[in-house]
Symmetry: C2
Subunit: 317 residues, 2 copies
């Protein structure tokens, strides 16, 4: 039934594990007492390149053949996927061409450059991103590695939940943010395979609630340039991620921009770790919405930690 099997994710993990960090799981007694649950945070913000995206990107790059490796890889991405793909390509001396919208966060553009990839700027519309990507492919014959709507990528992202549930098999609930759906799809496949009773919950910004609306409508409803602070979650679902979410995610819930900022601040202050706004989205649902049950073991995937430290949301108030 699944377009991606649990077995494929386990194989992906074997493929990538020596190239990625086994990220730590952290907890906070203060946040436990505030929520009445036992919370476990899978720290993908401490992952290589500062986000879970390296899992999928590495999984894709490792499956390229020699000819593809020679021509290089390309994608369009506003941030973490571009950095991850650049890093994965650099690991194997593969050329990398990143189409990036000119409003992508400066730190994320710098990271991509730092990993030696060539940046091809474009306008921040899906049309222009795809137009420039096609142009790059024509010029270079580089292999396109999509940021989420791709079996290799979804399998790779699922390995975060795999590590998490191997270490913490007693979770009752597992939360992850929803952008294009790569992370939540992989997470849901792993979660339901390991424990069919595990509740898998996707959380998205109210300003980018296309997954919630798509589920309700029974078809993909794209988001139209949502202006959420969670810059990793502005994308729409794809034709591979949407049916997985329909079948294996128990609930999609939404949070406001202020809730995202407050949750991000709280994690920084209490846990002394840096998470980006997208990571704060599921935390906000736990802190400010009634989705949890007292006494339960709740896992949260903190998806990334790439933030412009010179421009923090609580400084702008």
């Amino acid at each position: 039934m699944l377009s991606i099997s649990f077995q494929q994710i386990k194989e992906s993990y074997k493929r990538i594990r020596s190239y990625i960090h086994h990220t730590p799981v952290m907890s906070s007694s203060q946040l436990d007492s505030e929520t009445g649950c036992s919370l476990f945070f899978k720290c993908e913000n401490l992952q290589r390149t500062g986000a879970f995206k390296i899992r999928g990107a590495m999984n894709a790059v490792l499956q390229l053949n020699d000819k593809e490796r020679k021509c290089g890889v390309t994608t369009h991405s506003s941030g973490n996927h571009a950095a991850a793909l650049a890093f994965a390509a650099k690991t194997f001396d593969i050329p990398a061409y990143m189409v990036m919208p000119d409003n992508a966060p400066i730190v994320k553009q710098q990271a991509v450059k730092g990993y030696g990839a060539e940046i091809i700027p474009c306008k921040p519309t899906m049309d222009d991103r795809e137009r420039m990507l096609n142009h790059v492919v024509c010029e270079t014959s580089a292999a396109v590695i999509p940021s989420y709507n791709d079996h290799r990528i979804i399998s790779g992202q699922g390995t975060a939940a795999l590590e998490f549930l191997e270490e913490y098999p007693d979770l009752d609930m597992l939360l992850a943010p929803v952008g294009g759906g790569g992370l939540i799809s992989g997470t849901a496949i792993v979660g339901k395979s390991v424990n069919p009773n595990l509740r898998v919950i996707g959380v998205e910004p109210l300003l980018a609630d296309d997954a919630k609306r798509s589920l309700k409508a029974g078809k993909i409803i794209p988001s139209t340039y949502p202006n959420t602070i969670a810059d990793g979650l502005r994308t729409s679902l794809g034709d591979i991620t949407f049916p997985i979410i329909q079948n294996y995610v128990d609930e999609i819930t939404t949070v406001t921009e202020q809730e995202i900022i407050d949750a991000m601040f709280l994690i920084w202050e209490r846990m002394k770790i840096i998470i980006e706004p997208s990571s704060a989205v599921p935390v906000a649902a736990l802190l400010f919405h009634d989705i949890k049950q007292a006494g339960k073991n709740v896992g949260v995937i903190l998806s990334g930690g790439n933030v412009d430290l010179k421009s923090l949301p609580w400084m702008k108030a």
Copy 2:
């Protein structure tokens, strides 16, 4: 010869270990390649109350007798020691009275209040701090738990290095910040006991270089209200910590305010963890001074992570 033995520190560790976090050791391949060393960071910023100080405070509180517990504990401190002592006292329902200078960071004052201690404000001079402390002792008969110049405190702080060297016995060099000298004293005793060839280096802000000057002069030269951003390192050495440093610390080195800020920013950006300025002091020495040798295994104790997130040093430039 030592006023505090390695054995005492091991006993302190047995006493406190169930009340503290065994903090993780992190590394960064980027910082490794920038320094040419293998760097290992002992993350006491992820410790309970956000700093190593809970080790000493817990060790002291656990050695109080019943009568002392009833009367409570007191200290003067501008920050992390006060929070740690408040937390330790709260753990055993012991009253706590904290004399805090009125210029102590707001977040640190809030933490002390959050742990249920009573704050007695004073002027930010050593005279007024001690005057108010004496007043508190007269009123309450509370036991004074000094912030560093105390055998129980130094033994407790030494347990950070004990955990560190148990896990990483092959360190060639170990760095810690120097304020009043509690952490570096405990670190040096453990370091030299485990491996006499281990180089133990203390680092302090140039603006608060009293340890360096004291070593040179052969007697304690107090610092006079140094205005360093490293608010945890503004204190002077004590008559217990000074001779330990004289005998067991290989070198004291200093760093500038800008180096502290730059090192702090770099750790936040690369490692996605929050450290306070005092923690950045030894990192700055590694990054910007010629104290290291290529290929060596270098350990750094990141002492704490309590920062006012709404007022960051790189925002003020």
